[in-house]
Each structure stands twice: as C-alpha cells, then as structure tokens.
C-alpha cells in the first residue's frame, strides 16, 4: 500500500492487514515510533473530529503534525495551483492527510507528490478511514467480518459513510437491511454493485421491528433540510429514532454504531445499554488511523 485513497483500491487482504495492525497497536503488541515524522493535515474542508482523530493518532506514536485548516489558510486563493501547494507541503512532511470538498482531490494529490497520501474525505466520494474504523469496530464486537447481517438506517441516499461501508462489507459477504425514508433510499448504483456480487439486501421504512436479527445497526442522521416540505419530515422522523424500548429482543452481541455527531436519531436512553458502541467507535478511529499511517510509512 502506497496511499489510501478509496475503499475500491483495497483487497480483502489489505483490509485484514489493517484490522490486524490496529488490533496489535491497541493491545500494545506493536508500538510504531513516529519520532521525527511529520504528518501534514490539509483540511481544505473543515472537519474538526476527523482532524483531531488523525492528530491524536500521530501524537500517540510520538509523531508531529502541521495543520492547514479551512479554505482561508490555503494559498489556493492567491492563484497558486493546487499541484504547487501540494509540492511545497511535501517538502516539509512525511505523509499528507487531506480532506477536500473536491471529488478526486486526494487521488490527484497522490499523483503529484511522492509521499503517501491519505484521503480524509473528498466531497461526496470517499472517506476510507471512516470505513476502516467502522470495519474495525465491527470486527472487535463481532469477532469477524464475514457473513454478518448489517442494518443501515437513516439517510442512505447522500450518506457517503454508508455507501463505503456497504461496499466494504459486501467484500465479506454481508447481508443488508436498508432502513430509510423512500426518497432517501440507497442509490441504485450501490444496489447494482451489491447485486453484481450476489449480496442480499432488503429495504424498509422503519427501524422498529426490523432489527432483531441484526448483528450491527449503523445509524445516520436524517436531516430536516433534505425534505422539501417540513411537514413530511415531522411525519417520518420518529421512524428513524432508535430508543431503548426497541432493543428488547436484539441479538446478544448486537451493537449500534454511528459516525457522530449524533443529533437526536439515537435516544440518550440507549447510551447506557450494552448495545451502544458509538463512543468506543470514535476511539477505534484513532487505532485504525494509527494503523493506516504506520503501514503507509512502513513503520510496522
């Protein structure tokens, strides 16, 4: 692995190596040393959480970071080409971690510079480190990635996170339940991809009554702004809020994941149950990102 740009580039073996490395880092079995290594965090589109997670990952390995955040700080406004900006930053750093609203920006960056590039989100396209930390959370709680039953709930149409996760889990033969308002369904091209791989999926409009056979329920937010008519939102929003009462008959090792930040799509009464896993999931993000950086810098 030279870069991490898209989940499409990863084989099952690549993914398992990342999972294994993250687990060893978490258990302290391997201690990657990033002393004298500098990661450039270029967040042309701000995302505090993702940036903190990478920053923490690097610092936990004794590495350092330089941070460029928000479009205001970039030289893009002064007429410098994107390629020149990247080339310059590449002179100072050992790895570039980049987030942008421009789709394909990370792929292009990887072509321009010789350093490893990590895509920390490129518009509506890919967010592979999120997908990998989600996979790491799944393997930690289920003991495996193969043949699981996964529910994806909320906004499945615009949610880049659920698209990547569906594609990644398809490699492992998952079966899916897609739970969303009709107009926020999983896009056809994702469903075509799944059908091509003989992956089974069903579609539903309510969380309630549809989660008892699941191993994982991945909840995302249904945004009010997606609805043309606010009344339509009021009518359906209750169908996509998970509460404790709905969890009475779930499987023993069932877990609820959420990419965070949560608004009100998971009631706080779920937080104290053994099924809530969204905060540990965020912590797993640091281990997953440590593993990614270590592998790309060949420190493990």
């Amino acid at each position: 692995m030279k870069n991490l740009i898209s989940m499409r580039d990863l084989s099952k073996e690549d993914i398992m190596r990342l999972m294994d490395t993250a687990a060893k880092i978490e258990k302290g079995e391997i201690v990657p040393n990033m002393q004298r290594k500098l990661a450039a965090l270029l967040f042309f589109e701000p995302s505090t959480r993702t940036m903190f997670s990478f920053d923490t990952a690097m610092k936990r390995m004794n590495g350092d970071t330089i941070i460029m955040s928000g479009t205001g700080n970039t030289s893009a406004k002064k007429g410098e080409t994107f390629a020149d900006t990247l080339q310059t930053i590449a002179q100072y750093s050992d790895i570039i971690i980049m987030r942008s609203s421009i789709e394909g920006a990370a792929r292009y960056a990887a072509e321009v510079v010789d350093l490893p590039v990590v895509n920390a989100g490129d518009g509506a396209n890919q967010h592979p480190t999120q997908a990998l930390l989600d996979l790491y959370s799944i393997i930690k709680t289920q003991g495996k990635l193969d043949n699981l039953k996964i529910g994806l709930a909320g906004d499945l149409r615009f949610g880049r996170t659920v698209h990547s996760l569906a594609q990644a889990m398809a490699i492992f033969g998952a079966e899916f339940k897609f739970i969303s308002p009709s107009f926020l369904q999983m896009p056809q091209y994702i469903k075509d991809d799944l059908a091509e791989k003989d992956i089974k999926y069903e579609e539903f409009n309510d969380i309630e009554g549809n989660i008892d056979d699941l191993d994982i329920l991945y909840v995302t937010r249904v945004q009010r702004e997606r609805f043309a008519d606010p009344e339509d939102y009021e009518k359906v929003k209750g169908s996509y809020v998970l509460n404790k009462k709905m969890l009475q008959n779930v499987k023993k090792y069932f877990k609820v994941l959420h990419p965070l930040p949560r608004v009100d799509e998971i009631h706080t009464d779920v937080d104290d149950t053994e099924f809530a896993y969204y905060f540990p999931q965020a912590k797993n993000g640091v281990y997953a990102r440590q593993a990614i950086i270590s592998i790309l810098l060949e420190e493990v």
């Binding site: 499409r8 421009i102 792929r107 518009g123």
Partner: protein, 152 residues
C-alpha cells in the same frame, strides 16, 4: 446506379475512411475530429448496410488519425471500421476497439470533480460488460458512455 452506390464508390486518393458508423452518429464523429480545416470530407448518412441495417460513412482526404482520435471515435462508434487509403489502394483495414482506459477525451459530467476544477486531463476506465460504462478515476462516478461528452 443509385445515388447511394455513387457515394459509396466515390473514392479518395489518400486519407482515411471510417465505415460502419452506427446511423446518426457521423455528425458526432465529425464534431470530435473538428473537420473544419483543409481536408476534403465526404459524408454518407443512413446508407444501407448488411452489417448494421443502416450506417453512416465518413471519408477524409489527406488525413491520418492519431491513436487518440481513434480511441475517441471508438467510444462513439464502436462498430466502425477504419480504412487507410494510399494512392486509391486500401493499405490497412481495422475494426475499432473500445479502449479499457482513456485519457483526456471525456469531459467529466460531475461539476465537483477535480478535472473540472484544476486544469488536468480526465482519466476513465471503460467497462464493456453489457451497456458500455465509464468510471472517472478521480471522482469515481460511473456513466453510460453514450451520455458522455467526448472531445479530442
């Protein structure tokens, strides 16, 4: 002799003939070759064809196509045959083949794609299974080739 036959046998001395273009596609081929220059051009439209039922044909005097041009034409007219004429003789005849990978010729329809923001050439992988589709290397969006804007 019918008019159609006359056009068909209207030979050129040196140049390129693109035969078996799917009927109706020849104007698009002309567009991507930007044939407004010095070359004499003969166009046949909607001619009878054993292979296709109806076909278009294009003859261009004193011009050989580049590999890039041929690749672009293949996307629009995958059924076409390319014939090179030298001193009224056919010196080469080949079927067009859709390339698996193509650079520059496709304009990515996604306005948020980096190829539409920075001055860099587009790159596409072509999938030929079933209907021919193309996936942008950068934004990873997939399109039907017939919906794409092609340029040379």
């Amino acid at each position: 002799m019918s008019l159609v036959k006359t056009i068909k046998v209207n030979a050129i001395k040196n140049g390129t003939v693109i035969d078996h273009i799917a009927a109706g596609k020849v104007l698009k081929v002309i567009e991507i070759l930007s044939l407004a220059g010095d070359n004499s051009v003969m166009i046949g439209m909607n001619l009878e064809s054993n292979k296709l039922g109806r076909k278009d044909i294009l003859k261009i005097e004193n011009r050989e196509l580049t590999k890039k041009e041929v690749n672009s034409i293949a996307l629009i007219a995958p059924s076409a045959t390319l014939i090179i004429i030298n001193d009224f003789e056919v010196v080469n005849k080949s079927s067009l083949e859709i390339p698996e990978y193509i650079e520059e010729h496709i304009i990515c329809p996604n306005p948020k794609c980096i190829t539409n923001i920075e001055d860099i050439p587009s790159k596409y992988y072509i999938h030929k299974a079933g209907s021919v589709t193309a996936r942008c290397v950068y934004c990873e969006k997939k399109y039907l080739v017939e919906d794409l804007k092609i340029k040379v």
